[in-house]
């Protein structure tokens, strides 16, 4: 009997402390996620026509909507290409900056600065960078005898051009995580490797890589989530064009919701986005070592 009172007290106090956060999180994350899914089974209300239950009709529309498929494909490509490249470059940067190289601070600065720029600002500078003919990229290309490329104006290059911006912006950020991981590798291990005259590649493969594996996975998951939330540069640079070549999922949701006001269809699209994120979450929690970063 003596012990129940403080126990209860802890339960109440615990919930009281968490309450503001719980209410806000429920309001802006859990409840809207659920109501988005519910909304996707209704029609879009129009003027005096209220929303009616239409079952899977929105999803049928979606399956027949070539723009949705394109957005999904673009987004998958975006993830599959930007994530490994950004991680690879981030690791390379971290190894360079971690080693004994002249002007480490300046290098780190060059790599990390893109991270703190607002994406919209960076996008506007990159727009200029990509401008056909007199943009810097084409001016440099011309020095080497390449013809001018309309980077953002042709379907083949527009998406890769956006990917480059993302990689540029994110690699420096991920570099930081790798730097931290590298600094935690016990120097003894490297010394041992040196004693045995191991080659650098071997040292990397046998010592560094396994030890930074948890970081790599952590970064990969984060990069993956980010890849499905890309939207700033699409709005600022291409508006999804040409011919939807750069339309990504979240941008399409934005367009359908806030330009077409087809709110129910936007809900169905958001549900797809939520499912993708859920899959990533499952990947993270069940397939990877849970102990890595969340304990």
């Amino acid at each position: 009997m003596e012990r129940t009172k403080p126990q209860l007290n802890i339960h109440v106090q615990g919930w009281l402390l968490a309450l503001p956060a719980v209410v806000l999180l429920a309001t802006f994350t859990h409840v809207p996620a659920v109501s988005t899914i519910i909304d996707s089974f209704f029609s879009t209300p129009h003027g005096r026509r209220p929303a009616v239950f239409i079952g899977l009709d929105q999803y049928r529309t979606m399956l027949a909507d070539p723009i949705f498929w394109l957005a999904l494909k673009n987004n998958l490509l975006y993830a599959l290409i930007t994530v490994p490249i950004a991680i690879g470059l981030a690791l390379a940067m971290a190894l360079w900056v971690n080693g004994r190289i002249k002007g480490r601070a300046a290098l780190r600065l060059a790599f990390f600065t893109p991270t703190i720029l607002p994406m919209v600002a960076a996008a506007n500078i990159w727009l200029f960078f990509y401008t056909p003919d007199y943009g810097l990229l084409n001016q440099i290309g011309r020095l080497f005898g390449f013809a001018s490329v309309n980077w953002l104006g042709s379907s083949a290059t527009a998406l890769p051009a956006l990917m480059a911006v993302t990689i540029w912006k994110e690699a420096g950020f991920f570099m930081i995580f790798f730097l931290a991981a590298l600094q935690q590798v016990p120097p003894v291990l490297y010394e041992a490797a040196r004693m045995e005259n191991a080659r650098r590649w071997l040292t990397f493969r046998r010592i560094t890589w396994p030890l930074i594996m948890p970081t790599t996975l952590f970064v990969a998951i984060n990069a993956l989530i980010n890849a499905f939330r890309v939207v700033d540069q699409v709005i600022a640079m291409t508006g999804g064009g040409p011919n939807n070549a750069t339309t990504l999922l979240l941008f399409y949701v934005y367009q359908v919701a806030f330009s077409f006001w087809d709110t129910a269809y936007a809900a169905a699209l958001s549900t797809v986005l939520l499912s993708v994120l859920a899959i990533i979450a499952i990947l993270q929690f069940f397939m990877l070592d849970r102990k890595i970063h969340y304990r």
Binding site: I67, N150, S154, N243, S259, W261
Partner: protein, 426 residues
């Protein structure tokens, strides 16, 4: 009901003029996007208006591009704080009507003077301002597409610098002479740029008009995207870069086209007459402005923004908004705005204002767009406008980037538009 509304309106007006009530504040959304002086001009108008009407305060809100502005206005309206008056694309009319957001002018402006005011604008501009027997928009910053040409480049290419192309064939022929290559074969100067980013349908509509096609019916319920003449125009649009090679390949950015023209990257460009002042200030060479070339006829769609008045249960705000709309569209202000921006002064009597006469005499290109109005057609506008024009935009970009042939792309666009518009066709 109507009489009651009128009475309340008169009463609130009277009350506000007597100065008894507190000042009415109205929010005014406007897109323009030349930066600098232009926002100042609008702020100046608002201040001037408030001076003349001490009981009304106008709060101008600059909302970015047209595209951004309609999104903002709709978003704000859905949240229950719509602007009271806004300049939005004339083509947004059906969207605004369908969402029950705007007041028809004929319902709130009923005096003889008001009626005369509604009739005082160029009829070409009113085509995009009237539907279902009502007038929903008052022309403010209206334009047509015109061609700009670099006279120095014409001279250098052995062309008569005073003679712009007047037909499609001439345009191609001139373009070929004007397209210059360097030793490696790379192009250093293009003959022509017709922008195709953002809203390619508008520039394309000039081509369809010249080819004798009309893209949509007046009621905004049907489009003719795969009409043979439209397909032919689209093919020509693509041929300019792909076959005749007088225009850069791929999508040409609307925003950088004037810069390309200043930099001598292109010898001719198509863009809005609203760019006139910008070109005048920045072109370091002699340039000319001409009406569109013709195929079976000349002509261009009109473009640009109208003034809309948003519904509001507060009649004082509606009345104040109407007063402001009238203020913005007086001949003096229409002339002043035209001179400041290059947009076409929206009513014939504006061109009789002394300042305008002087401007037109000093700078003859200013009258080109006005004179083209006789050949102008209404800009493509339908119900579900954003989606229906997106179908065409996507098709055009697919054609221009070589992803799809013209016929197939436009057939698809037509099918998509039919699907979207089905519920509006009875």
């Amino acid at each position: 009901m109507n009489r009651f509304a009128r009475l309340t309106l008169a009463a609130t007006l009277a009350a506000s003029f007597l100065g008894g009530a507190s000042a009415t504040e109205i929010t005014f959304y406007y897109p323009i996007a030349v930066g600098g002086p232009i926002t100042k001009v609008v702020d100046g108008y608002a201040a001037e208006f408030s001076k003349a009407h001490p009981d009304i305060t106008v709060k101008p809100v600059y909302t970015g591009s047209y595209q951004d502005s309609i999104v903002k206005a709709m978003t704000a309206a859905k949240a229950g704080n719509a602007p009271d008056v806004a300049v939005l694309l004339s083509t947004d009319m059906f969207t605004l009507i369908d969402n029950d957001l705007i007041e028809p002018y004929d319902a709130i402006a009923k005096s003889d003077g008001d009626q005369a005011w509604i009739k005082s604008f160029y009829p070409a501009f009113m085509e995009n301002s009237q539907a279902e027997g009502h007038t929903w928009g008052i022309p403010f910053q209206r334009s047509t597409i015109v061609q700009y040409w670099n006279k120095d480049a014409f001279k250098a290419a052995g062309l008569d610098p005073e003679k712009p192309p007047t037909t499609w064939d001439e345009m191609v022929a001139f373009g070929k002479k004007l397209t210059k290559h360097d030793a490696s074969g790379a192009v250093t100067q293009w003959g022509l740029e017709i922008p195709s980013s953002g809203f390619p349908y508008w520039l394309f509509q000039a081509l369809t008009t010249q080819n004798g096609a009309i893209l949509a019916n007046q009621a905004g319920t049907k489009v003719a995207y795969n009409d043979p003449k439209v397909v032919e125009a689209a093919q020509f649009f693509a041929d300019l870069s792909q076959k005749y090679e007088v225009m850069p390949k791929g999508i040409i950015d609307w925003g950088t086209t004037p810069k390309d023209f200043f930099e001598g990257k292109t010898a001719m460009m198509w863009t809005t007459t609203g760019n006139l002042t910008n070109v005048r200030n920045n072109a370091k060479f002699a340039f000319g402005v001409a009406a569109m070339p013709s195929k079976v006829r000349g002509g261009s769609p009109t473009g640009g923004g109208n003034i809309y008045i948003f519904k509001n249960s507060d009649k004082a705000k509606v009345a104040a908004a109407l007063e402001f709309a009238r203020f913005l569209s007086t001949p003096e202000r229409a002339a002043d705005w035209g001179i400041a921006t290059g947009y076409v002064a929206t009513r014939p009597d504006a061109w009789e204002i002394e300042a305008m006469k002087k401007y037109a005499a000093d700078f003859p290109p200013a009258v080109v767009a006005r004179d083209q109005l006789k050949d102008a057609v209404a800009e493509l506008s339908t119900h579900e406008n954003q989606r229906v024009t997106k179908a065409l935009n996507d098709a055009l970009q697919a054609i221009l980037t070589g992803a799809k042939p013209a016929q197939a792309a436009l057939d698809e666009a037509q099918a998509e538009a039919n699907r979207i518009l089905a519920s509006y066709q009875h």
